[in-house]
Subunit: 402 residues, 2 copies
C-alpha cells in the first residue's frame, strides 16, 4: 500500500541515536553508543517519596493542567537557573516541555519556514539537526575550534545567510564535549545583537561539571533577556523517564511556543511535574548531582587512561571537563562509520561521528559515552575498541606498505 506523505517526511529518518538505543537493548555488547545516564545511580527512593507526596495532595493532582506547566516547578527552575547567573525572568517565561528535545522542536516549529537557515557548531547534536531538517530549514556549519565558534566565520555567515537562529551547546557539548571560552560566548552575544538573530542555547549537561574552580557562564546569563532561548532538562540530573525539560527566554517566543505546544500535546505529564517539584524541595538534588559528578568523572578518567595506555597513533581527543561524552579523532585513513559493524561483532559499540556533522563529515571521529557502563565494562570495552582500531590501522599500514 502506498501512502501520500507530506514533503517534510523526506527529512525524517530513523536516527543513529534510535538505532543505538536498540544496540544498547541487546545484552552482549558493551555500549559506549547511547547517551544514557547510569540507572544504578537513579534517586529511586527520592522519586518514590516525591510521587507519594503528590498522591497525598489528593485527586486534583491527576487532572489536566495548563499548557505552560506546573507553576511551582517553574518557580523552582527559576531559582535553580538564578544560581547559574540566569535572572530577570518570571515563571511566565518558563515553559515546561517533554524533555528538552520538545523545546528544540517547538522552537523550530514556530521559527523555521522552509529554506530558513540555522547556524550550528560542527559537529553538533544529531537530533537537533534532524529537527531543523524536518522543518525543511537549511543548516550551515560555523567554523569552530576548542574554544567555540570562530567569531570571524560566524559574522561572515550571519551576513551571508541571514539565519533565523544560531543553535549551540556551549557547555560540555554533544558530541564533542567542548566548552566555549567566556570571550567567545561574549562575542556570540554581541554578534547576535548586532545582526538581530536569536541564539538557542541547549544546556542539558551544564550541571555535570567535573572541574571545581572554573565557571562556565551560560549565554542566557550574558544576554539582556531578548536574544537567548535557554533550554535544559531533569533527564540527566534526576531521571529521564519523567521526560521533563524546560525553556526560558523572551516572553513573546515562549508564548508562541506554548501555543504550538497546545496543538502538539496540550501539556506535558503533569503528575511528573508535581513529583519533580517535590523532589526539588524535599530531596537534596544538588548533593545527588555532586555524587553523579564524582562517579562520572572517575569513569571518564578510566576511559581516557585506557586510551592513553593503548597509545594508538594519530589519535586526538580533549579530556572532557564535564558532560557525558568523549569525542575522539583517529587516523584519517580509518572510517569509523564502516568500522562500527566490526566493533559490534567484537562486542563494543560507539557512535560514528559522521551524522553529527552539518557540513563535511569527518569519518575518522566517534563519540563515546562514559556514564552508562561500569568501570569494569569501560576497561573491557576500551580494550576491545582499541584492539579493533589498531587492527584496522595495521591493515592500512600493511596495505600501503608503511
Amino acid at each position: 500500500m502506498k501512502y501520500a506523505f507530506a514533503n517534510r517526511v523526506r527529512h525524517l529518518q530513523s536516527s543513529a541515536v534510535r538505532d543505538i538505543l536498540k544496540i544498547v537493548g541487546q545484552g552482549n555488547v558493551i555500549s559506549f553508543a547511547g547517551g544514557l545516564p547510569d540507572d544504578d545511580l537513579f534517586p529511586l527512593e527520592g522519586i518514590e517519596d516525591a510521587f507519594n507526596r503528590v498522591f497525598k495532595t489528593g485527586k486534583k493532582s491527576l487532572q489536566y493542567m495548563e499548557t505552560e506547566g506546573y507553576r511551582p516547578l517553574r518557580e523552582v527552575i527559576l531559582h535553580r537557573m538564578a544560581k547559574k547567573g540566569i535572572s530577570g525572568f518570571t515563571s511566565d517565561e518558563v515553559l515546561i516541555t517533554t524533555g528538552s528535545q520538545q523545546a528544540i522542536d517547538l522552537f523550530s516549529r514556530i521559527m523555521l519556514s522552509p529554506g530558513d537557515v540555522v547556524l550550528t557548531e560542527d559537529p553538533t547534536y544529531l537530533a537537533a539537526l534532524q529537527v531543523f531538517k524536518s522543518y525543511e530549514a537549511e543548516v550551515v556549519a560555523v567554523e569552530s575550534d576548542d574554544d567555540g565558534m570562530l567569531p570571524g566565520d560566524l559574522e561572515e555567515k550571519l551576513k551571508q545567510y541571514h539565519p533565523k537562529c544560531v543553535y549551540v551547546v556551549p557547555t560540555f557539548s554533544n558530541p564533542a564535549g567542548r566548552v566555549w571560552a567566556l570571550e567567545r560566548r561574549k562575542q556570540l552575544i554581541d554578534l547576535v545583537h548586532r545582526y538581530k538573530v536569536v541564539v538557542f542555547e541547549d544546556d542539558p549537561y551544564g550541571e555535570l561539571q567535573f572541574t571545581e574552580n572554573e565557571v562556565y557562564t551560560p549565554l542566557a546569563a550574558l544576554d539582556d533577556g531578548t536574544r537567548v532561548m535557554y533550554t535544559s532538562t531533569f533527564s540527566k540530573t534526576a531521571v529521564p523517564a519523567l521526560r521533563t525539560g524546560w525553556i526560558t527566554g523572551p516572553y513573546q517566543i515562549i508564548r508562541m511556543m506554548a501555543q504550538a505546544k497546545q496543538a502538539n500535546d496540550l501539556h506535558s505529564n503533569s503528575l511528573s511535574q508535581q513529583a519533580l517539584y517535590e523532589l526539588c524541595t524535599h530531596y537534596d538534588l544538588d548533593a545527588h548531582i555532586k555524587h553523579l559528578i564524582e562517579v562520572y568523572k572517575s569513569r571518564m578518567e578510566i576511559m581516557v587512561r585506557c586510551l592513553e595506555v593503548a597509545n594508538l597513533p594519530n589519535v586526538h581527543f580533549v579530556k572532557p571537563k564535564g558532560g557525558m561524552f568523549l569525542w575522539i579523532e583517529v587516523d584519517e585513513r580509518i572510517d569509523l562509520t564502516s568500522l562500527l559493524d566490526k566493533a559490534v561483532e567484537h562486542g563494543v559499540a560507539y557512535v560514528p561521528g559522521e551524522p553529527f556533522f552539518a557540513g563535511n563529515p569527518k569519518k575518522n571521529t566517534m563519540r563515546l559515552n562514559f556514564t552508562h557502563a561500569t568501570p569494569e565494562k569501560i576497561k573491557q570495552g576500551m580494550n576491545l575498541l582499541t584492539h579493533v582500531i589498531s587492527t584496522e590501522m595495521n591493515k592500512h599500514l600493511v596495505e600501503i606498505g608503511e
Copy 2:
C-alpha cells in the same frame, strides 16, 4: 522587540479550549465549558498502587525508553481494542503518544503539506482544526446529519478536493455528542477505499457509552487495516495527568509517525506508561469505567431535564448516548459567542459552538460539559444559563415586537 516567526504561526492562536481552562480555574463560575472528567472519580488508590508496583521493579524503570512506547502496555492496548472488534494489528502497529492530541499532531506532521485538504465533520474537534491549520492545510466540512457524514456530499468532496485524509469522531463526538449509524460508517470505509484516502478515527470517548444494548463499531473494526488510523487515550477512562494516548494503523504510517515523534519528544513519559500497564493488569479498569458511566449518565440526564423544564422556545438538542458533551442549538437570533460574557457575569460558563465549525459557524450553538460539575452545580448552573438565554430571548422578542 520583534522576532521573525515562521509563516505557520499565523495559524497558531490561543484556543477557546485554553481560555476555557482558565475560566475553570477561577472559583466562582460554574463551568460547563471545559472537557474535564470529574477528579473526585479518579482512581487515585489504583494509580498510587500502580506506581508503587513500578518502583518495586527497580531503577531501570526510570531510564530512557524506545520511541514507540512500553511494549507490554501496547500489548494491553491491543487486547482492549480487540474487545471492540479492532484486530489484526501487532504491537509494532501501536504508537504510544502524549495524549491523543499528539497522535493528531504527529499524523498531520507526516501527512499534510501546505495546501493539502482535510475533510471533517462540521462541527468538529476544535484542537484538531487548529492542528490541521497549523500545518497550513485547508479544512473542508462535509455535510452531516445526526447519523454522520452524508455519503453523497462526502463522495463529491473526495472527487473535488483529493483530500489527504478524512478526520472524524464517529462515536460520541466532540462537540456534537453525535454517534454515526453503522451504515454510514460502512459507506465511509467504502468511499475512502475507492478514493484511496486515509481516515483518522479519533475515539477518546468511545468507552463512555450510556446505552446498554447498542454496539457502535469503530471504523477501524470495519477496515482491512489499510485505511484507518485509530486513536484513543487513557485520559477519560483513567486520568488525564499521565498524558498517555495511542494510535494504531498501517505499519508504514505508524513507523513514519514514530520517526516524527523521535524528533518531537524522543518518547512519552515512560514511568507513566509502566504505571498504566500495572493499572490495566492489577486494577479492574472496566469496573471503574462502568462506575464512570453510571455517574456521567445521571449527570447528563439531570442536565437534559433542566433544559426540558426550562422549556425555552426553539431549542434543539439530541440526548447524548455517551461521551462528555451536550450540544445545544438555540433560537437563531441568539448569538451565543457574544452572550458568553453575560453568562460568565451571571456565574456560568459554556463553550460557544462557533470555533468548532470548519465551514459556516452557527453562532446559536453551544457545547456543555456534564462530567465535571456535581449534580447540585449542574442544576444551579442550568438555572443560571437558561435564565440568561431566556432573558436574551425576551429582549429579541421585545425588540422585534413579537
